[in-house]
């Protein structure tokens, strides 16, 4: 099947490993990714500035997806997924706002279509591709690997919007890890936020939040942390060193995107999955699974 994909801003500008790994694994499940062109930011930072403008940006992404003629839109970034889901809700419930935005889009020759369905990497793989098919595609089971998952905040909250997984007991990412042959470990801090949103205004606090969580994960004795959002990836992987400094801990937790892990299980070369770009010592993790 063909799926439109919108990467947002962070993936396109610095979280390349996520983009690379998604582009590698999706075709293996017969999901052909169709990039949107001339895209704009989903509106996430604009929500704090002008909610109407933010909803317009989100709606524009959906309109661009509609332009491709496809009814499914993949959003690998948690924040894009939330912003666009909320915008869909607002346009449905608020005729005034909806009217303004739809009209403005039409001036550009774009048509907003509310029936475009939004997906995240997790629910697409879990529900559309299906756990069974993921399991069957595994060529190199990641036996013996013990991992902690971090599903993030904005794809599980708030339930009323209809999210990717249960807000209090999200299991999809853990199950996706499980079918690869690895073990996902439960832990008390599982639902805690990475703090990314504070980086631009309160960087110390942001790093403190990330560091506290990484410290807890480290204490579990797991082989690595699995994420699936570029913001979480940025905090836990790129900024792990700074986070450690902030909380006064020596952090040594390999952090990988789920799609990178999946790629490994599908026997795809690590360079194609961007594993050389991860800032944390993923070699430790790789040593456990590669011969």
């Amino acid at each position: 099947m063909k799926v439109a994909v919108f990467w947002g801003c962070r993936i396109l500008t610095n979280q390349y490993a996520y983009e690379m790994s998604v582009r590698e694994v999706f075709p293996r499940f017969d999901a052909e990714l169709v990039d949107l062109s001339e895209t704009n930011c989903c509106g996430d930072p604009v929500k704090s500035v002008n909610d109407l403008a933010a909803n317009y940006l989100a709606a524009r992404v959906l309109a661009l997806a509609n332009k491709t003629g496809l009814q499914d839109l993949l959003l690998p970034c948690n924040r894009c997924h939330f912003v666009i889901s909320e915008a869909k809700n607002v346009l449905e419930k608020n005729e005034g706002v909806g009217g303004k935005i739809v009209g403005l889009l039409r001036e550009e020759g774009l048509e907003y279509n509310p029936s475009v369905k939004v997906w995240h990497v997790i629910d697409f793989l879990h529900d559309v591709v299906g756990l069974k098919n993921v399991k069957e595609a595994v060529q190199k089971p990641l036996k013996g690997l013990k991992l902690a998952t971090h599903v993030g905040c904005q794809i599980i909250r708030y339930s009323d919007l209809g999210r990717v997984d249960d807000a209090e007991n999200p299991r999809r990412l853990d199950e996706l890890v499980g079918v690869l042959g690895a073990e996902s470990v439960d832990y008390a801090e599982k639902l805690d936020c990475c703090g990314a949103n504070l980086m631009q205004s309160h960087p110390d606090s942001a790093l403190s939040l990330a560091g506290t969580k990484l410290n807890a994960v480290q204490n579990l004795g797991v082989d690595g942390l699995v994420v699936s959002c570029p913001d979480c990836g940025l905090m836990f992987d790129f900024k792990q060193k700074d986070a450690g400094t902030t909380v006064g801990a020596k952090l040594n937790v390999p952090v990988v995107y789920y799609t990178q892990l999946l790629g490994l299980a599908l026997n795809i070369e690590k360079e194609k999955l961007g594993l050389h770009l991860n800032q944390t010592p993923v070699d430790q993790l790789l040593m456990k699974i590669l011969p």
Binding site: D166, E168, N169, Y187, A188, L191, N219
Partner: protein, 666 residues
């Protein structure tokens, strides 16, 4: 030619302060067929009533119109007034000049007076066409069905039985006692629950006027108020009730372990067991889902048969259907406790030391799974820190919006008992939103808890966590100190709310009783008729109508019993003649009326007409509530509503549409 008397009441200044009552009275005099029109300051007073009665005699009046306050206030009074003067009470029309005129339009007296005149004109138009009607008497059975053997059902049954009524008390479980039997102590007196309950349980079981049917369920309800026909299924216990002596030897030898329902699954009992330590009747019951012989239908095991010296085990026992005829029904099926695993953030179901209030109640009880000892499951010692979290599943738009009414008091009780059992060393915290201690002795009880150093944290936690060693911890912000407190409890007790039974929908359908938005059974009027359901003859008692504590339950149960006594005591009931009536000649048997009637008050009777079978609708007077849906649905105008005929209503409409200056014809 009707002779109408019109009486305009001043109602002190209530009406006269806005409406020009003299003007209205003069206007009434000018209407056709009005023989006399008067006004008086308080028409409902004795002189006012006598005035009407004398006029009826003197002027031979045969229709009365009283322009006064709402008929809900005094229509019954005035009906008696005219009856005493020899006039049929349904030849009376009340016109509402207070709620509909003076109270609604107090800012515009001129227009109010015009409206009053129009309403009087309409009242007179209807009065012309009123017909005399008779209340019908229907004989009733002096038997009562009480559904549910908790404290509500027990109390109601005792009151009814003592008043000389025969009661069928049906209980689903193998024993009566319900929720109250599970409690340790009761607030605010700390009475031992079983000690105050068991005497009542024994009384009701022994009462000559009570037929106790445990392990039974109601399966069908037919009929109408005063004359219900109910089918009850007595499920098999596989034990002869008359032979079993309650020695429990069978339980000791049974090899199959089963979670003990009475102990909320905290301990295990056997496939054959007596329901609880205070079971009434004290007879063993075999659980067919777990008993090896019954489950696999094979001649296996049989250890209980060997052990039973009274030879009471009867594997071949079958369900028995009993049909009874009763005049009234009291539904007292109680409620359940909220399942907190729905609020996963608190870890109920995941962490062993996060328990529910009802589970804790069993733990506190000396006859419970721990013999009354409070132990933390982590290390087997008694907890050093116990936390209660309030409003779990209640006052929450995600689960149940209502306040459960008993959560605060139950927690206070449990907190005090923890202090009593574990002494000074245990730290007790109650995390609350509001502390609701509203009843008699309740706030004093709250103070008692504070006196015992129970700490009240004004704030609710967002979640409860467990660290790698299984120790619980959570953060909670306290309004009083403005501090974020981290608490590390050994035991967390969740104050889960009371919720409607899982089977409440079935009960509603079975008895044709509606439910309110919160899921509990709906009362006829929340303030003035809290004990009656919307079905005549069916009453509500206890937590099935809404969560409540024991004092309120007992009061409601006795109240419901009194209502039943009131209904059935004379042996007959009077039915208001405000009913639908079918003109058989016009009825085509289309069944539209039957399909729209919300009260099951229309029956189709088949009769042989000229060799062909024809259906005709017939109104079951006792069930008919006079709502009029059938009248408007009938395509052939075969149904008319007594006292609200099409003619009467249309005459009012016509009169209402005329100019106020006009006189209104006949």
């Amino acid at each position: 030619m009707p002779k109408i008397g019109v009486y305009v009441c001043h109602c002190g200044l209530n009406i006269a302060g806005v409406v020009d009552v003299e003007n209205v009275t003069e206007y009434a005099k000018s209407l056709p067929d009005v023989a006399i029109a008067r006004s008086y300051i308080y028409m409902c007073s004795e002189p006012g009533q006598r005035m009407i009665q004398e006029d009826i005699k003197t002027h031979n009046l045969d229709r009365i119109v009283i322009a006064t306050c709402s008929p809900r206030m005094h229509e019954e009074t005035f009906r008696k007034t005219v009856t005493e003067a020899g006039l049929n009470p349904y030849l009376l029309e009340i016109v509402n000049l207070r709620e509909h005129v003076s109270w609604a339009h107090s800012d515009n007296p001129k227009k109010a007076t015009e409206k009053a005149k129009a309403l009087v004109r309409m009242g007179v138009a209807r009065a012309r066409l009123l017909e005399p009607l008779e209340k019908r008497k229907v004989s009733v059975k002096k038997n009562v069905l009480v559904v549910g053997g908790g404290i509500a059902g027990i109390q109601a049954s005792l009151d009814l039985a003592n008043a000389g009524f025969k009661v069928f008390l049906v209980e689903k479980a193998p024993s009566i006692g319900g929720r109250m039997a599970q409690l340790d102590k009761t607030f605010p007196t700390l009475d031992c629950s079983a000690c105050i309950l068991t005497p009542k349980m024994v009384d009701v079981a022994k009462h000559s006027n009570v037929k106790l049917l445990t392990n039974s369920e109601v399966t069908e309800v037919k009929g109408f108020v005063g004359n219900y026909e109910v089918s009850i299924v007595k499920k098999p216990r596989y034990v002869d009730e008359k032979k079993c002596v309650g020695c429990e030897l069978c339980t000791k030898v049974c090899p199959v372990k089963v979670p003990d329902e009475f102990n909320e699954g905290l301990s295990q009992t056997r496939a054959i067991s007596i329901y609880s330590p205070y079971a009434v009747p004290k007879v063993a019951t075999i659980n067919p889902k777990h008993c090896l012989r019954l489950r696999f239908n094979k001649n296996v095991c049989g250890k209980c048969v060997e052990a039973c010296t009274a030879k009471a085990i009867k594997f071949k026992q079958q369900p028995k259907t009993i049909r009874v005829k009763v005049g009234g029904i009291i539904i007292a099926v109680g409620s359940e406790v909220f399942n907190a695993s729905k609020m996963s953030e608190f870890g109920y179901g995941r962490y062993k030391n996060v328990i529910s209030n009802i589970e804790f109640e069993r733990i506190l009880n000396a006859s419970g799974p721990t013999g009354g000892k409070i132990l933390s499951t982590r290390n087997g010692e008694s907890p050093k820190t116990v936390v209660f979290v309030q409003c779990v599943g209640s006052r929450d738009k995600r689960f149940h919006e209502y306040c459960c009414r008993v959560g605060c008091m139950a927690t206070l009780k449990q907190a005090i008992l923890v202090r009593e059992k574990l002494g000074e060393d245990v730290k007790i915290y109650v995390c609350f939103n509001d502390m609701r201690a509203f009843g008699k002795g309740y706030d004093e009880f709250y103070r008692r808890a504070r006196d015992l150093d129970v700490n009240f944290v004004a704030g609710l936690p967002s979640d409860i966590r467990s660290d790698v060693h299984g120790a619980l911890y959570f953060d909670v912000y306290d309004r009083g100190t403005n501090k974020l407190l981290e608490i590390r409890p050994d035991l967390v007790v969740l104050a889960n709310g009371l919720v409607p039974n899982a089977g409440i929908e079935k009960i509603g359908v079975l008895f044709h009783v509606s439910r309110s938005a919160d899921g509990f059974l709906l009362e006829a009027h929340p303030k003035l008729r809290p004990l009656e359901s919307v079905m005549a003859g069916i009453f509500l008692a206890g937590a099935c109508q809404g969560p409540k504590d024991i004092p309120d339950t007992v009061a409601q149960a006795s109240g419901a019993a009194a209502k039943v006594i009131d209904l059935l005591a004379s042996g007959e009931i009077e039915l208001e003649p405000l009913k639908a009536v079918v003109d058989e000649d016009l009825c085509s048997g289309c069944r539209l009326c039957e399909s729209v009637c919300p009260f099951l008050a229309i029956e189709m009777k088949s009769e042989n007409v000229e060799g062909a079978e024809r259906l005709r609708a017939e109104v079951v007077e006792a069930m008919c509530q006079g709502c009029g849906l059938c009248v408007s649905a009938c395509p052939t105008k075969a149904i008319k509503m007594c006292h609200y005929t099409d003619g009467q209503v249309l005459a009012q409409v016509q009169a209402g549409c005329l100019e106020s200056g006009a006189r209104g014809g006949s």
